[in-house]
């Protein structure tokens, strides 16, 4: 910074600001066609980066160079003259100070890596999004019509199986255990237990006499209604047992059986949203149900273990 400055032509230090400035100008031009918001953003970018660029360029003019000690650097050429260095005698001799701290090759390789990273990101992010997001979006299913109310005599459990999505076919068949609890304050009450075991998701079976001769088919969801006399419910996989309110009585399940909301429209019973249950106190229409968002099997919804699953899965 001392005597060399006067001898060599002045070169501005390498700078990234012009790139930002150029992006800003490009945004302004694009914004003229697309929307004024883009143009405004571009103007802001161009202004900020232009300001920084000008400030950079004029740094030497605005204030006298500070009195800095010359940078100490490992000597590149004066180390004991290895024999191979003799061939370089014809090359112009540069002093250490002339070798820039941030040479063009470094800038170019960093720029190549950076641009490659940006391009890779632009490609990867939407692809990863497509890989993951469809599992979590549009998961809400239409409410299934389980047919007229007279198919559900009071106090009797009915095995109701239906196709969640008739277009998909039998693989989407689900099973509910539905019991009409009669009227509570002139409103219908139903217990609707989802057959998926809350241990690890196997199909819970009713322990009792299934009256398969009285099976009825109704509705466009291929609903099959079969009366059953239930003493309790059991899971064949790992032996989880539940009582008729869905509370765990034995085995590994971590909560009570999941349930579904219901609604009655035009004399027909409709399934509603599913939800998970911590525990049920009481029975039938007057049962007090600890209700939580619909959780994956095996996941605690209450107690200290619920802290392990802080984020509810969407869909």
């Amino acid at each position: 910074m001392s005597s060399h400055d006067t001898e060599k032509p002045h070169l501005p230090p390498p700078s990234l600001w012009p790139i930002g400035f150029a992006i800003g100008i490009a945004c302004i031009l694009a914004g003229l066609v697309v929307s004024w918001i883009v143009a405004a953003v571009g103007a802001v970018i161009a202004f900020v980066f232009g300001f920084l660029w000008i400030r950079d360029i004029t740094a030497g003019v605005r204030q006298p160079a500070a009195d800095v000690d010359p940078e100490v650097r490992r000597p590149l050429r004066d180390t004991g003259a290895p024999p191979a260095a003799q061939g370089e005698a014809a090359m112009p001799v540069m002093s250490d100070a002339e070798i820039e701290a941030y040479p063009r090759s470094t800038f170019l390789s960093l720029a190549t890596l950076g641009l490659g990273g940006v391009i890779g990101g632009i490609i990867t992010v939407p692809v990863l999004g497509f890989a993951v997001l469809p599992s979590f979006t549009n998961q809400r299913k239409p409410n299934v019509d389980l047919g007229p109310l007279e198919n559900f005599p009071e106090g009797q459990f009915i095995i109701a199986t239906y196709l969640e999505d008739p277009k998909v076919g039998e693989v989407s068949r689900r099973t509910m255990f539905v019991r009409n609890n009669g009227l509570l304050e002139d409103k219908p009450s139903f217990t609707m237990l989802f057959s998926r075991c809350v241990h690890l998701g196997c199909p819970v079976q009713p322990n009792g006499i299934i009256d398969s001769e009285k099976m009825k088919r109704v509705g466009e969801h291929n609903v099959e209604l079969t009366p059953v006399l239930v003493s309790n419910f059991g899971c064949p996989c790992h032996g989880g047992q539940y009582n008729t309110e869905g509370n765990r009585t034995a085995g590994p399940p971590v909560r009570a059986l999941d349930r579904a909301e219901f609604s009655v429209r035009d004399g027909n019973l409709y399934l509603g949203e599913f939800y998970s249950v911590g525990k049920v106190e009481g029975a039938g229409a007057r049962a007090r149900i600890q209700k939580y968002g619909h959780a994956v099997p095996g996941v605690h919804v209450d107690g200290i273990e619920a802290w392990l699953y802080p984020i509810e899965v969407p869909g």
């Binding site: 599992s135 998701g201 196997c202 869909g315």
Partner: protein, 268 residues
């Protein structure tokens, strides 16, 4: 014998040159021949034995899985309505289909078992120690990916066992803290097992996981070639050290770990 060989030597040299010309052509332009020679004819310790073949056996099992898997994919239909039927057709109708499916099915177990045996050999021989720790880590990743292959492949026959085993397996994933429920829902491709699960598992089973396994096998082999094969623990040429071969043991303790006389007999 020798005279005839000498008599035919000019002709023989000519023939050899003709036979070797393509190899020389390839070698000059790619260096592949030298590379393959370097890979196949590298030096190994004197007293390596059958235990050291477990890695190659695992590789062979993987190659069998890859090849039979590609052929099964000719005829398999990853769709809930036809997956089971297509497997039945492969097994019962297609010529030799039972054989290829059987190789893939039983080969899967062979692959996993061989991985464990190979791992046990490496562990018991102490072959995971410096400088081969990284190769152990890659091996663990390969084991995990191999198990994932087993898990995703188990669903594909789409029978009751496959379906409910996968339900249970996915829900076990779902009980992992914090991200578990998300992993479960991602694997299911929705809130329950269905057609998305089948195609997701099929894609993972035959594209993503084998690709990752092949890449890691490449790294694994690269490190094996770079670092060399370890001697057995009873070898006089102990790994990573220049010890004089089979010195008479003056130290009573040494005989317990490394019986010098036996090692010497093995070595020579």
């Amino acid at each position: 014998m020798a005279t005839t060989a000498r008599k035919k030597s000019a002709r023989r040299r000519q023939l050899e040159a003709v036979a070797l010309y393509p190899l020389d052509w390839l070698e000059e332009r790619s260096g592949l021949v030298g590379g393959i020679k370097y890979f196949l004819f590298r030096k190994v310790p004197r007293d390596t034995g059958w235990f050291h073949t477990l890695g190659s056996a695992t590789l062979t099992a993987f190659l069998v899985q890859a090849i039979t898997g590609v052929i099964l994919a000719f005829y398999y239909k990853p769709d809930p309505d036809s997956a089971y039927e297509s497997i039945q057709a492969i097994t019962n109708d297609l010529t030799l289909g039972w054989l290829v499916r059987g190789m893939h099915r039983w080969g899967a177990s062979v692959f996993i078992i061989l991985m464990f045996l190979h791992m046990a050999r490496v562990f018991l021989f102490g072959a995971y120690k410096y400088p081969r720790e990284l190769n152990w880590i890659i091996g663990v990743l390969l084991l995990a990916l191999g198990m994932a292959e087993g898990f995703t492949g188990y669903l594909l026959p789409w029978d009751q066992t496959a379906y409910w085993a996968t339900v249970v397996g996915i829900n076990i994933n779902g009980t992992a803290p914090f991200l578990g429920p998300f992993i479960a829902q991602f694997l299911q491709g929705g809130t329950a097992i269905g057609q998305n699960t089948l195609s997701t598992f099929y894609s993972l089973h035959m594209l993503a996981l084998p690709g990752a396994i092949m890449g890691l096998i490449g790294l694994h082999l690269y490190l094996v070639i770079r670092l060399g094969v370890t001697s057995p623990p009873w070898s006089p040429e102990a790994a990573g050290r220049d010890r004089p071969p089979a010195q008479p043991s003056t130290n009573g303790r040494e005989g317990l770990i490394r019986p010098g006389s036996r090692g010497g007999a093995n070595g020579s």
